[in-house]
């Protein structure tokens, strides 16, 4: 199948590549299918969630563990069940990024990660209760070793 994307032009994809968000993303509840596409030269740390239904809609995402090695997202029991796993460690996590001008003002949302079950393609965005994470961490926080947030 072919898809026109926001950042990568026309691409080919397979049905098995699609991630299914039963409830969409917060504020985008009707958007339930995304592809997770990596940017070249980013070593897998910079990606985007490209909507399958809306070519112009894509969310820049990062691997949170590359920013903060001790990031420890914990889903609630009902969320784990919906994701088809028994513990959060079985899932992959990505955080959405707001790209600002100047770029040094860019932020990541560690409080609302996207959890992905790589085996089933089930995905969801959640709001973490614990861990003291914020919705707008400036990327510059993470540049000099580990931050203490």
């Amino acid at each position: 199948m072919e898809l026109t994307t926001k950042y990568f032009g026309q691409i080919a994809y397979e049905a098995g590549d699609v991630l299914y968000f039963k409830d969409g993303l917060f504020g985008f509840e009707e958007e339930t299918q995304f592809l997770l596409l990596p940017f070249a030269d980013s070593n897998g740390t910079l990606l985007c969630f490209q909507s399958v239904t809306t070519p112009g809609l894509a969310f820049v995402a990062m691997n949170p563990f590359s920013l903060k090695q001790n990031y420890a997202p914990r889903l609630r029991p009902a969320e784990l069940k919906a994701m088809g796993v028994t513990q959060s460690e079985e899932l992959s996590f990505y955080v959405l990024c707001v790209v600002r001008q100047p770029v040094s003002e860019s932020t990541v949302n560690l409080k609302c990660p996207v959890a992905v079950n790589e085996d089933t393609g089930t995905a969801m965005q959640t709001i973490l209760e614990d861990g003291g994470y914020e919705m707008r961490h400036r990327l510059s926080e993470f540049q000099e070793g580990q931050s203490s947030c």
Binding site: F26, F39, D41, V60, C97, L139, Q143
Partner: protein
Amino acid sequence: MLILQRKPGESVLIGDEIEVTVVSVETGGRVRLAISAPKSLTILRNELRGAMDANKEAAREEASPLALLELLPRQGDPETKK
């Protein structure tokens, strides 16, 4: 702002149609509330509103995402502490 004290099982009424009941207070300070209100009213945890706003910002970037690569910690070199 009105501040009230309520115990589990007690409630407050807001207008004629909204009732907020304290169900329980759990260790760690978490409070369970039951809200009875007309279906036409939207009830959101306030951080959900924040999460929606944050996603809307994320959907319209102001610069090329590739510019972010310069800001990321260098890969394969995780221990940069002095």
